[in-house]
Amino acid sequence: MTRLAGGLINRSQSLNFTFDGRRYQGHPGDTLASALLANGVRLVGRSFKYHRPRGVLSAGSEEPNALVELRTGARQEPNTRATVVELFEGLEARSQNRWPSLGFDALAINDLLSPFFTAGFYYKTFMWPKGLWEKLYEPAIRKAAGLGRLSMEADPDTYDKGFLHCDLLVIGGGAAGLAAALTAARSGARAILADEDFRLGGRLLCELETLDGAPATDWIAALETEFDSLPNLRVMRRTTVFGIYDHGIYGAVERVSDHLAQPGARVRQTLWRITAKRAVLAAGATERPIAFADNDRPGIMLAGAMRAYANRWAACPSETVAVFTNNDDGHRTARDLASKGVHIAAVIDARPKATALADYRVITGGMVTASRGRLGLKSIEVHANGRSEWIECGALGVSGGWNPNVHLASHNCGRPIWNDVLQAFLPGEDGPSGVLPAGAAAGHFSTAKTLRSGAAAALRALNVLGIAAALPSLPRSEESRYGVAPIFHVPGRKRAWVDFQNDVTMKDIKLAHAENMRAVEHLKRYTTLGMATDQGKTANVTGLAVMAELTGKTIPETGTTIFRPPYTPVALSVLGGGDAGPHFRPRRLTPTHHWAKAQGAVFVEAGQWMRAQYYPRPGETHWRQSVDREARAVRSAVGLCDVTTLGKVDVQGADAGEFLNRLYSNVMATLKVGRVRYGLMLREDGFAYDDGTCARLAKDHYVVTTTTANAGLVYRNMEFARQCLWPDLDVQIFSTTEAWAQIAVAGPKSRALLARIVGGFDLSNEAFPFMACAELTVCGGLRARLFRISFSGELAYEVAVPARYGHALMERLVEVGADLGVTPYGVEALSVLRIDKGHAAGPELNGQTTAAMVGLGSMVSQKKDSVGAVMSRREGLAGDRRRLVGLRPVDPAGKVVSGSHLFAEDAPQSFDTDQGWVTSACYSPHVGSMIGLGFLENGDERLGEVIVAANPLEGESARLRVVPACFVDPEGERLRD
């Protein structure tokens, strides 16, 4: 077995899990990676391009190799890093990118063909024939080179979003972060400590060094107890701060229940948007490997990770290990493993001088030049002092030095700065404002310095905020020195890996250099160095150093590696939070929604609104039957339609009329009190924008309506005009769309029906003519507004009551109108009725049409200015001769399809001969055939002409006769009746 003594795992409890179907056991506290290593599993995956056998490289979120498919069914998740997956009972994981099995992968042939698969291979090889790229090359390449598979099922889990505010956000819960959080917590400041791990302590958990002479976990446990007692500090474990955004906003994902087999009643993850006045970036450091020939075999891992597995997880990949290092830290791995009884075959130190920390063999000035072992390391070749020897070992810890985690500091355009002593980038001065790097992230590599820098950074931040704070007393800890030599790779002719995840080798970087892809951005895109799930956390600096060497420049001259959010992969599900499916956007229900639902209405989405589309009755098997019946009922008796969704804006003030004059193309100031006028708005560029009605309830009080679709936008524009264009006008506006339920009562019997609810109010044509409006009471005292307006062309009214009475009003109207044949109708019949009458709606007012085109040119007043008036007179707009016409099929059984384009008969059908298009079409039960509206070149002069409507998408065309854009009651007598 490869389980050692000690460690922070709970051996009293065992957890069963499977990897590629085989059963294993681990303990609480294990990650999947540590449990696999403890079970002697070194081979965990295949590489992206060459399908090389790969093992665990790291012990954290930087892992490039150990990517697995986790869970099964809909919860199956690809590319999960085994190094950060907390072990749970029943965990199921599978290796990726191999067939038929991990041990024997047929596509490993790619490795033998590697000379063909160098950088730029695809660009050079699959250039032609061009057509084959999409059909053949890309699918084949994607199948061969790839990562895990998606489940292709809907995500069954729920996610949430939350907002947090604090004075100080501490990013990272290692030594520096804990010291910072302690300083902030004791000051009383509102503070948050976020750490991606499931246990606080960071690197302290992975080391044997003591704090105040006791294990570090004792100090951490005492801190956690204190933290729990301080309500001003929020500790967030399993929470990754993945991005820094403008003005002190931080994105974080909390993995609420990823460590459970199933979330149960909890959410899976939460997206936190944290607004912090200051932040301490204590994100630690990431070790980088040294590139040498065949340095990617399972069993070759980062030396710090090997030490972490031994100390924290009591796991070691082999009983005999070696270490290859260019710095002092590598020796700590040898010392710790030796103390746990692991045999140290040798420590190969690339530097000419090195001091052993324990009794093990040190080879100074040495390089690892080769390795053996197809599915797991067996031996390494070491070259030193002019001699080579093979050393047997089952695992090799490699340390090429440590890179401070500058990722977040390079968000918001921060540029890290190269440090020659540390041979690494440090956070620059120009990083995100308010972020103070501390600890290893700031280049402090001993525990003592890390603790001090964390506390000092917090103190500095709190002082700036004017919060009194004191440095806490910190425990005594190691002050070890960290010396590193600038050695990034071992010269050699065989392939040496720089980026494990993307199979980028030294050769690829040399090729990029030879082909002049030398800038870091080119290097990345040409070789794919630093791409995919790990974003080059272990590879970028090495790649840059190699390029610098090839160009003979220094590293800072060569370039800087910067990082974009997210720090680690973030699932789209959690970015969406709960906003999926029906919760994707708000759903607005009309006041009569539940009534309509009870009537069996079929609903349709209209923007955010759910509107009744039609009301099927028993025996009706096709929607057209219902719609025809509803439309006929309006023309012959009376119908009811909820029109609450139309935007309503209350306009009040001494200058209300003048204000509306400037917004609408036609004159509104002259409107008499108690009257309604149709209004057309233009955009400032002169195109028709929106239409509606203006009702004047009092000298200083108008109520205007907008279309459903533009309600929000028109209101926004009205506020713009009021505040920004004409702030001196005495006018106030307010959107009342949701405040009033409005029901259209349309049809020849509408007056008779309304008379039954308006008390003594005189509805006669003389007292309340077409385009009248009034405030009144209905149903025995309910305040209401009545407008005699008609969209259907029939005698019609719209009655508005406070929204909460909408449902009751609809019920009452249906109840008292039963003998009149009252019929609720939906938006489908509403549309038929308006096409019958040639009224413009959304398809006609689509932002590309002018007032003249819809037959309303005369409405644009020449006597006054209004929004869009000047531009509407532009030559290009004023000269547009397309006009709205009605269209009827020559064959009464023929179809009219909206979207069809119009051509003269016998003319060729091309863009040059295009004469317009069909905007709206429906079956009209009153006409007895399909009818349509459309824009036609010189349409107003071509009545009676037969034209062709072509629908090339369906390969159809139809002969249509041009008729006036009004099919019912062209004189408009009914609505004035």
Binding site: C413, L729, V870
Partner: protein, 96 residues
């Protein structure tokens, strides 16, 4: 982003909708002889500058006031936020 609303203090930018260049406040005189050219400029032409930029934001999910926000387009630093109404009035526009 956070926007320092002159009446309501720091507000999240998500509460606002963005319009663009605050020059839209300066609607041309429709009676001027070159009104059409002036409107073409007003409607279609914008400067795209790096640095301080005065722009219009609408507090749609808030108090519905239009703001003139001065923002550095390079750093996103918000330098100033004023009520657009105050800005318009201070230019002594008189439309009556």
């Amino acid at each position: 982003m956070l926007i320092p609303h002159p009446l309501l203090g720091l507000r999240d930018a998500q509460e606002f909708t963005y319009l663009g260049d605050a020059r839209l406040i300066d609607r041309p005189d429709p009676t001027a002889p070159d009104a059409e050219a002036a409107f073409c400029d007003y409607v279609f032409l914008r400067d795209n500058q790096a640095g301080a930029h005065r722009e219009l934001w609408f507090h749609e999910q808030g108090d519905r006031s239009w703001l003139v926000v001065t923002r550095d387009t390079v750093t996103h630093e918000v330098l100033c936020a004023e009520l657009a109404r105050d800005v318009a009035l201070s230019r002594a526009r008189c439309s009556k």
